[in-house]
Structure formats: structure tokens, C-alpha cells
Amino acid sequence: MDRAVIEVLARRAGLDKALAEFPEDVAAAAEQASGAIARMKAPTDPRAEPWPPMRTGAGL
């Protein structure tokens, strides 16, 4: 992820202090997030529902 984009997103999230004190940690966190998002395969079926949080799968 581009450093400038990371900075914009971090400031929008209110992370000015973290950016000033721990810029490498903020950059590493952004890379982790984009890596996980890239590895995830979103369902192609537009009707695919999310898992209702707080329920187990017994009745699926």
C-alpha cells in the first residue's frame, strides 16, 4: 500500500499520534490488512448472506 494512502487512512482513523510515534508499525499494520483482504475470496453470488454473528451453525 502506498505510504501516502496509508497516511490518509491512518489520519482518517484518528491515528495521528501513532503515525508520529510509530510510523513503521502503522505501515506494517496497513500491509497486514491489505494482504489479508487480497487473500480472501469474496462470494460471487450476490445473494450470498453473511454469517449472522452470535449464532452457531447447527441449523444451517
Binding site: M1, L9, E21, Q32, A36, A42, P43, P53
Partner: protein, 464 residues
């Protein structure tokens, strides 16, 4: 009778009820051992020796008077320090919560006390159950009793290390991406992540609401079933709690595996994340052994570990950001570096990404459910490597994500990790068993068959 510190919870409870061992005698032996070994292992953040001894004396008096509180009367238990114990700080191993003292016990702790268990103290964890092993926190990380130069797994590190070292027979842990099963694997004990919703999370500091599970760590399968019998219950005040029937988890322990169908998820350790050769041999040995005992072993395919891991990560980091965002904005320097990096990631995940992960999660649950309609239990790797050296940050960073535990936080199915054998350098190797929702009894049945065949409950760290 075994030396007192190697008594299992089941043995200790029986001996105490029969007045063959007094709770005070047992507590004295364990506190002496803790005093000797804990400086090398860093299991405890807070040892509550005085209160534990007072409770042991009270238990002794009650039992002498014929009043037995429950199946764990007089048996000591350790509590991971993200779980509330009234009057003791719940620090989450972090400077952020160093003065956080809860007024009430977590539900799981209250249930243990109700059954007569005695709380010994609060145990080391990775910071907020995600950042570790770390050397930049107010307390050092726990170490592995099989070799203190090695990592005991995490995040329930103190729970795993203390049980394997004979400091206590049972402990509570929590598991969001494998944090009960990882220390069980690294320390050669038994750790269960129960079905999502089976054990109340009320009074447990959250990491990720929809992935968090609370469960037992013990030295034997029978102890694990006994402890689950006590802590499993419906809690109407926990929004994730399931209204499922509970109890009798030990009822089929000695039934064996003849006729059971076991699905071997080989691609996890063969192609998704190729395992260390000794791990592979250990898994094959367990599968062969169960087959020899009469189980049918079939190959089963599930989504890849890479995909499970990504879904787990997006959900975990999004939900954790909702919890930690305010502190990360105001007090980023009060976190250790590992937790800070992992928790900040949630700031870079959009609402849309989170929903996509939840949608894929539902499909993955359906895929595991479909597999479990064809077999009774799944068998797969837990860790892909023996425990790393704790001072080798690069090796820990490399091996930590090489695991097959996160899939079952994503799907919520019960999953148990236990010893598969020992590596050539004497460190535990592990195996994982996964069951249908709320079918923990079947999981224990298979785990007990392997425990008996492999003699894994008789193996203790030689240096301890």
C-alpha cells in the same frame, strides 16, 4: 498414587473426596513447586497464594464435615489473565489495563468455584490475547517446560506451560485464532476450543466477538471432559451463548473408535502449509493408530488454510479495532509492538471487507458442515512445526501462522489439540481433532482412544 503435582484433576478430586489427600496438602505441594519453577517459566502474572491456601483450608473443613461442593472440590485451577476473577487485576498482560480490578468473577470462573475448584491466580498470556511472545511488556512471556528456551505457544501461554510443568492440573484459556490449541500443542497437553456459544464469554475481555471461545486446558482427556462438564452452560446474558443441552462429556470416553469415520484433512499439512517432516510422521502415526483400533480413515478436502486464515484475520482485526481503537488513538505507546501492529491493522479494513469476510464465512461453515455429514470427526494438523525458540523472533514470526487452527474459529466447530508424540529434540508434536457442533463427547472419545494408544498422558517434561 502419583506424586501430588502430577495428580490429574480427576485423580485429585477423587482422592480429596475419599479423604486420601487433603486440599491443604495438595495446595502446599503445588505452591512449593510454583515457588521453585515459576521463576524459570513465568507462568503467573499474579499468584494468589494466600487466598488459595485459605480456600484449601475451607475445603478441607467442608469435606471433613461431609459437605462436598461439587466434582472439583479442592482442586486448584489457573486462570488466563483476560478472564475476570473478583478482586484480582485482569491486566490482559498489558500496561493498558494494569489497574483493572473486576468486582465479579467471569461466569466460567464462577462455575468452577461453584464446583469447588480453587483459583490459584492469573496466568501469562500474549498481550490482549494477540501480541506475543513479547519482551516489551510489564511481565515477561511464559516459557515452555519441555525446554525453557522455547515458546510454549499462545496466547494462553501460562495455562499451557503451568499444566505441563505440574504447577496445577487444569486451567482456563481463550481461543480466537487457536490460542487454547496452540499452547496445548506446544506443551504436549490437551486443549479444547468448544463449540461457539457452549461456554459463556461474560467476564472475559474480548478480542473478537464472533471468534472468541473459552475452554479448558488439562493434562488428560478425562480432565478436559470433566472441566467442560462444569463450565458449559447457557448464559442468557451472553449474546453468543447457545441454548444447547450440555453435560456428560465423559460418558463415552472408553468406548473406543471402532466403526467411527474419521476424515483426514491431509491438504492442510501436505500442500497448503507443508509441515515439518516430524509433524507429518506424527500425524500419520495417529491416523494409523486410530485405523488400527477400528476407525475408518477417509480423505477430506476443505477450503485452503490461506483462505481460512484471511477470513479469520479480516474479521478478527475489524472486531478488535472496534474494541481497541480509542486506546490506539490515545495511548499507542502503552501497547507492546506486536499487539500494536496486529491491532492497528483493523483501521485499514473497510466495512465492505468485513461483510465480505462474513459472507465467505457462511459458505465455509456450510463446507465444513457438509464434510462432517460424511464423517464423525476430522483429523488434521494443529501446528506445522515443533515449538520455536522463544528468543528467535524471526523463527517465531515464520512459524506462528503455520497452523490449522483458525478454520474452526471461523466455523465455530469444536476442536481439540493434543500431543501426537515428541520430536527428535524432545519437544511436543501435535494433532487436532474437530467435531460436529455440540458433539464434544465424540471428540473426547476419539482423543481418549489416541491418548491410550499413544500413552500421551504419561509423558511429562523430563527437566520438570
Amino acid at each position: 498414587m502419583s506424586e501430588l503435582h502430577w495428580l490429574t484433576a480427576t485423580e485429585a478430586a477423587r482422592a480429596i473426596a475419599a479423604r486420601e489427600v487433603s486440599p491443604v496438602e495438595l495446595m502446599t505441594a503445588l505452591l512449593e513447586r510454583i515457588g521453585r519453577l515459576d521463576p524459570k517459566l513465568n507462568v503467573f502474572i499474579r499468584l494468589d497464594a494466600e487466598a488459595a491456601m485459605d480456600a484449601a483450608r475451607a475445603a478441607e473443613a467442608e469435606i471433613a464435615a461431609g459437605r462436598v461442593r461439587g466434582p472439583l472440590h479442592g482442586v486448584p485451577v489457573g486462570i488466563k489473565d483476560i478472564i475476570d476473577v473478583a478482586g484480582l487485576p485482569t491486566t490482559c498482560h498489558s500496561k493498558i489495563l494494569i489497574d483493572n480490578v473486576p468486582a465479579a468473577d467471569a461466569v466460567c470462573v464462577a462455575r468452577l468455584r461453584g464446583a469447588g475448584a480453587i483459583v490459584l491466580g492469573k496466568l501469562s498470556t500474549h498481550e490482549f490475547a494477540i501480541g506475543g511472545p513479547s519482551f516489551d511488556l510489564p511481565w515477561p512471556p511464559a516459557r515452555n517446560p519441555w525446554n525453557p528456551d522455547h515458546h510454549p505457544g499462545g496466547s494462553s501461554s501460562g495455562s499451557g506451560s503451568g499444566i505441563a510443568a505440574g504447577l496445577f492440573p487444569m486451567a482456563l484459556g481463550s481461543d480466537t485464532g487457536g490460542s487454547i490449541r496452540n499452547p496445548a500443542s506446544a506443551c504436549g497437553i490437551v486443549g479444547l476450543k468448544p463449540t461457539y456459544g457452549l461456554v459463556s464469554r461474560r467476564g472475559v475481555f474480548p478480542l473478537s466477538f464472533t471468534l472468541d471461545h473459552v475452554g479448558p486446558l488439562t493434562r488428560t482427556v478425562a480432565d478436559n471432559a470433566l472441566m467442560l462438564d462444569v463450565i458449559a452452560s447457557h448464559d442468557p446474558l451472553d449474546p453468543g451463548s447457545a441454548a444447547a443441552p450440555t453435560g456428560r462429556y465423559a460418558s463415552g470416553l472408553e468406548r473406543g473408535v471402532r466403526g467411527l469415520r474419521i476424515g483426514f484433512v491431509r491438504h492442510f499439512h501436505e500442500t497448503d502449509l507443508p509441515a515439518h517432516p516430524e509433524v507429518t510422521v506424527g500425524l500419520q502415526n495417529v491416523a494409523r493408530s486410530l485405523q488400527g483400533l477400528g476407525a475408518e480413515i477417509r480423505d477430506v478436502n476443505l477450503p485452503t488454510l490461506g483462505e481460512f486464515g484471511a477470513v479469520n484475520r479480516v474479521i478478527l482485526q475489524s472486531e478488535a479495532w472496534a474494541i481497541h481503537g480509542p486506546w490506539l488513538r490515545e495511548r499507542p505507546g502503552d501497547y507492546g509492538q506486536l499487539a500494536r501492529r496486529r491491532l492497528l491493522a483493523g483501521a485499514f479494513i473497510s466495512a465492505g471487507d468485513y461483510v465480505q469476510a462474513a459472507r465467505r464465512r457462511l459458505q465455509m461453515i456450510a463446507e465444513v458442515e457438509a464434510a462432517l455429514r460424511e464423517v464423525d470427526v476430522l483429523l488434521c494438523a494443529s501446528a506445522m512445526d515443533p515449538p520455536s525458540r522463544i528468543d528467535d523472533a524471526a523463527e517465531t514470526e515464520r512459524t506462528y501462522p503455520r497452523q490449522a487452527r483458525t478454520p474452526f474459529n471461523v466455523t465455530g466447530h469444536p476442536a481439540l489439540a493434543m500431543m501426537a508424540g515428541l520430536s527428535s529434540n524432545g519437544l511436543p508434536l501435535s494433532v487436532q481433532l474437530v467435531g460436529r457442533n455440540f458433539a464434544e463427547a465424540t471428540l473426547f472419545q476419539v482423543a481418549r482412544a489416541w491418548e491410550r494408544a499413544g500413552g500421551t498422558d504419561e509423558k511429562h517434561p523430563p527437566a520438570m
